[in-house]
């Protein structure tokens, strides 16, 4: 890096002046750093404008984990907000799951981002919201299904944090690769309800806090390149509790496809968008949890079912399709709940 790039390689196909620094997966263009910054930021701006993601004066929370996607999102959002006068009040919102050696370190990154980007930070923790940290949950239930707890709790924690910040919307750093992966996973699981919404750029518009994904069409490769060239400060350690097996396979498949034909990622997202659910398919009706008031299609929301299990020492309540001894308890619970089979979902860090 101290050394100047050698005179090899081609010139940027956009400016024809500087040497190309990367090949864009989306277009296969070979472009220089400066042109890359410009097209990267401009495409995100176009996505925001074309989809009318924000209105002037809105308060927006940026879901910030300290990882690459949310760090780049916080940087680009504050940059675009300034440059194009969106008139938004931006905040960073982080969830502390209580995972020693992982989240405590990544939260330090978010705290640095707070100063670097001048965005106020709010941290909500599992221990204050639910009375349990992930460390304690894993101690009780082991490394199976822990991602289900974490995913359900995080989703609600982000909504509660958003309510505390009184924001109008929550933006998350889900990128094109994540969305393609989720479309595939939902097809493989036959999860019709999620399939129909996972490719939407805005979700939860009927709920209290809509969520949107400005990076929906942004490739992971470009996000990482952007962070690298701009020397953005992000945290990149895998969660110590995440076996992540099922999603891992889908991820690897997407990456293999990308190597053969990078456009495949956008094509899969397109397939997800075009999916139409037949009107005769019965979709769950949205109501409110009788216990905590959170949106739920069941009598109790899933977080309350999981929490009830933890507090009663029956942590398998609400997990998957168990055919073992817990079956009877689950049946009772289901009746009490009026719930069908609550599906377990691997690693919720990408909940949609």
């Amino acid at each position: 890096m101290e050394k100047a790039a050698k005179p090899r390689g081609r010139l940027c196909t956009l400016c024809n002046e500087k040497r190309a620094a990367l090949k864009r997966p989306k277009t296969l263009e070979q472009i220089c750093r400066e042109c890359f910054y410009a097209v990267f930021e401009d495409e995100i701006h176009r996505v925001i404008v074309d989809n009318q993601l924000f209105k002037p004066g809105e308060r927006i929370a940026i879901g910030a984990s300290g990882g690459k996607d949310s760090t780049v999102l916080a940087y680009v959002m504050s940059e675009l907000n300034r440059r194009h006068n969106y008139g938004l009040d931006l905040f960073l919102l982080s969830v502390d799951e209580g995972i020693t050696g992982y989240r405590d370190d990544s939260l330090e990154t978010v705290k640095r981002n707070e100063l670097q980007y001048g965005l106020p930070l709010k941290v909500v923790s599992y221990s204050e919201l639910y009375g349990w940290t992930m460390d304690e949950i894993v101690k009780l239930i082991g490394l199976k299904n822990n991602c289900t707890f974490c995913g359900v709790f995080r989703r609600q924690a982000l909504d509660r944090g958003s309510a505390l910040l009184k924001v109008d919307k929550l933006v998350t750093g889900h990128n094109a690769d994540d969305i393609a992966e989720t479309v595939l996973l939902n097809i493989l699981r036959g999860d019709i309800a999620r399939l129909s919404r996972c490719a939407s750029i805005i979700t939860g518009e009927d709920g209290p806090i809509p969520r949107c994904k400005p990076f929906k069409y942004t490739y992971e490769k470009e996000i990482v390149m952007y962070a690298y060239f701009k020397k953005l400060d992000y945290f990149s350690t895998e969660c110590i509790y995440s076996p992540n097996a099922y999603r891992g396979f889908a991820r690897e498949f997407i990456k293999d496809l990308e190597r053969i034909r990078p456009r495949a990622i956008l094509d899969i997202i397109r397939s997800g968008e075009d999916f139409r659910i037949s009107t005769s398919t019965k979709m769950p009706e949205q109501g409110n949890c009788e216990r905590c008031g959170y949106i739920s299609s069941q009598k109790w929301c899933k977080a309350c079912v999981l929490l009830e299990g933890l507090n009663r020492g029956l942590p398998k309540l609400g997990i998957g399709r168990s055919r073992d001894l817990d079956n009877k308890r689950n049946t009772n619970m289901r009746q009490a709940n009026g719930t069908q089979n609550l599906q377990s979902k691997q690693c919720g860090s990408l909940d949609f």
Binding site: M1, A21, L22, S65, K68, E220, T237, R251, E252
Partner: protein, 99 residues
């Protein structure tokens, strides 16, 4: 030949959490040039201490690992066929960790 290698995005965890390695490596007998392909074999044998499958797949890096030679995407310089020169800087970044 002296090279500087940098591991990021979580890949440093595979080599004792050391991000920057200054290495001395020479082309194998019979070969005049040092290519990225040779370098990857060398890295796998000499630097990667655990879970090599997180770094390589077949004879290349695992899809999702970005490679930059002198801060330029290796997709522009011929990937495995890229010829390395004295004091080159090679960066490996995983895109697969966290979000």
């Amino acid at each position: 030949m002296q090279l500087t290698l940098e591991f990021g995005g979580g890949l440093e965890l595979l080599c004792d959490s050391v991000k920057i390695h200054n290495i001395n490596v020479d082309p194998q007998d019979g070969e005049k040039q040092m290519t990225m392909k040779n370098l990857l074999t060398w890295v796998r044998t000499n630097l990667i201490k655990e879970r090599p499958e997180m770094f390589m797949k077949g004879d290349s890096v695992r899809p999702g690992v970005l490679v930059l030679v002198n801060d330029t995407d290796w997709e522009l310089s011929g990937q495995l066929e890229t010829v390395l020169e004295e004091k080159d800087n090679v960066v490996f970044i995983s895109t697969l960790h966290g979000g």
